[in-house]
Subunit: 216 residues, 2 copies
Amino acid sequence: MKAIAVDIDGTITNQNREICVNAINALRKAEVNGYPIILVTGNVLCAAKMVSVMVGTSGGIVSENGGYIQTRKKNLVLGDIKKSILAYNHLKSEHNIKKTEFSEIRLSEIAIVRNIDEETVKESVKNFDVEVYDTKFAIHLTDPEVNKGKSLEIVAKDMGINVDEIMAVGDSENDLEFLEVAGFKVAVANADKELKENSDYVTQKPYGDGTAEASQ
Amino acid sequence: MKAIAVDIDGTITNQNREICVNAINALRKAEVNGYPIILVTGNVLCAAKMVSVMVGTSGGIVSENGGYIQTRKKNLVLGDIKKSILAYNHLKSEHNIKKTEFSEIRLSEIAIVRNIDEETVKESVKNFDVEVYDTKFAIHLTDPEVNKGKSLEIVAKDMGINVDEIMAVGDSENDLEFLEVAGFKVAVANADKELKENSDYVTQKPYGDGTAEASQ
């Protein structure tokens, strides 16, 4: 194993998005021991970068569910937001929805506030070319051509390593693809059933404590 | 005392901008004990908001050195970025400078990478209507009509309190104005000499440990 890729919300934070100090300490220790941390999130890059700076991670960032990445060498917009806009406009014509904060700086996808259920969104946009993710923190309308797994491969390449040398830790359905490509797949105890079923290891502890447990 | 206002970089982080877990714990405890935390920073709002969410602060945010605020009731752009653009363009014609990351989402001022010294910047833009701040993390060209102190007053008002009921904690010259308006003024041990001289209390410990000390 040469690096650790972790989701943010629900994986190093609790259900209120507050970061776990045990996770911070464990990830810093991993960095010191030569295992760079890669953040893999549905957040916008600016927010994810602040977490990277505050925690002290050095592997790079996959933001917007894979649509916008910052590798050690470059920033890349990979998702086509036009697909999300078409689906969003249709959804908005049928339901009373609202974009999440800082949507104006989201470059590759649209995230909406979770006052509508995932199935209703999926039914409404079924004829549009978008993937619908419910991260339990927001519902995302994402270009199906991108996902956290494909983007992690690019970030890993710019680190000079392969994805199968990465341990991946996640909690939600939008983490499936990046756990899939990773060499060792960890689901925290609070993770979705499907993610747990596709993991090599399910932590005993939930949320950030689970990530701390896996990173030791 | 009814609330605590804290700067981010150098005040709850170390010199590498890594957040101090003791500061996180102390600020969370203060929130639980009924003292809302207000973040007062030169960072862009999106980054400051992520810190607010991750730490779990509820008082509001002063970002961009006062130029852009998020109170409990509203977001407000207070600084006029046109002033900064004029000064920046002149500075750029004289020196090889670079804006900081995410400058495209900075709405009220311009921050430049600190590969030029503050005095050189001040000399170059002396005929322009901007305030020059060296935060030790970046050099800011800010509308002189705004500062962290005036903006903290607006945030406090929307919390239903007065600024003189706030304890303020900072480390840098751009923190002078918000310490000035606060009821109790704290400089962390690593703070600028001028800030220390204008404080009611200088912490024994530096950086985030100093903020933890003051918040207890």
